[in-house]
Symmetry: C2
Subunit: 248 residues, 2 copies
């Protein structure tokens, strides 16, 4: 099992620039800094910067394991991270794929409720739990932002329960591709990355690799999508993709 502890020095000096309403700035990702909090005003941002540590995580490395003491919170600034839970016998359920801007290690737990692993090389901002919580006390706006994020995560989780409990394999794969396309903001025709393996997709959709592969092939064959290579696709017929997803 790969295990990463890639630190990142506290970096006390003020970030040299901020763009728009964005908050914590990742030095290496300056081109695309991601806010931990869209609605934070100046002072809160400064304090957040002060407790921020930069972390890098190579693809395939574990950020933390389920059950570990939850000593840190994170925001993802670059790359893709997957969250998952496992059963004692090795069966795995991926509960989500995080993209830049997403928050990780949500508060109010003694220990992490899931494991987190990098799908691609990733950059994160790390906040020591204690200090972050103290900051939360002083800045209700930050708390509000977290509540808002928790709410949308909850809605996404419920949607995923619908998928896992009631959708067919074809519908699951179509839903997955459609939601990637939606997240991508693609109006159709643009190239969308599929950075995770077929195994990851299977463990996210509650299927086997073989079934995922077959359904993706079927989607290609029916002309709903195009795939220039295994890790990129294009939505050719959005209508039919959405229909196949059976979205409520």
């Amino acid at each position: 099992m790969p295990r990463a502890v890639d630190t990142g020095e506290p970096s006390r000096e003020r970030s040299p620039s901020r763009i728009g309403t964005c908050g914590v700035l990742c030095e290496e990702c300056r081109v695309r800094p991601i806010s931990v909090c869209r609605s934070l005003a100046g002072p809160a941002l400064d304090e957040l910067d002060a407790i921020t540590q930069r972390v890098r995580l190579a693809a395939g490395r574990i950020l933390f394991d389920e059950g570990e003491p939850a000593d840190n919170l994170f925001t993802l600034t670059e790359g893709v991270v997957k969250l998952f839970k496992m059963l004692p016998d090795g069966r795995r359920q991926i509960t989500g794929f995080l993209v830049p801007g997403d928050f990780l290690g949500l508060a109010y737990f003694r220990s992490y409720a899931y494991s987190a692993e990098a799908v691609t090389d990733a950059h994160l901002c790390r906040f020591p739990r204690e200090r972050f919580m103290a900051l939360l006390e002083r800045h209700p706006a930050l708390e509000k932002e977290l509540l808002s994020r928790a709410s949308s995560e909850l809605a996404a989780a419920q949607e995923q329960m619908l998928l896992l409990g009631r959708k067919s394999a074809r519908e699951r794969v179509a839903s997955f591709l459609a939601s990637l396309a939606r997240r991508h903001g693609s109006t159709g025709g643009s190239l969308i990355a599929l950075p995770m393996s077929r195994y990851d997709i299977a463990d996210y959709l509650g299927l086997t690799v073989e079934t995922v592969s077959r359904e993706i092939q079927a989607a290609k064959a029916s002309g709903v999508i195009e795939m220039p290579d295994r890790h990129h696709f294009r939505v050719v017929d959005r209508q039919r993709l959405e229909a196949a997803a059976a979205s409520g």
Copy 2:
């Protein structure tokens, strides 16, 4: 489709009693008042009481439908309520069963992300969204409580994803019974209510009624549980029940 709008007059007069750290008091359920917020101090409670409306809901009636404008938030004070999402063709996934003390209609959405229906006769406290949000502004402790609840709901949702995506029918039913027993705080041997129908259980576990029925019969036959009637059970062999649940 049954549809309930059972109001409940604003009830402006102060609640005559409070027990321990409990908050909003349901007049009819005085024997067991349930807090909306364990950590609220006096002033916040008074303000909460001021915007509270009592609502009653007969078994089988809808509190609200997915997609409706989310004009109200609720806490359940008595009874059991189920939350669910549906697909256009009628397939249904129940995402949770609420018990007294649970919060409902979480903030930061324009419209409800799911439908809510009473499993048994239920009593709720209703808070008009606007006023509740305003109150939230003034009382960070309330916000903190909501965040805490959202976090545990999220953890529960992830556990359910693991169940729906990766567990067998036997494991699902065992997990369900085990979690009811845990929630009940049963040390073993005590009678636990199973107020929902087999259909509801099936739609919660992503199975069919027939499969749920068969697995429950199997659990009885193997001596893991006892059932004095169809809507009550007793855990006879907690060891084996937990083992069958394959809980991570």
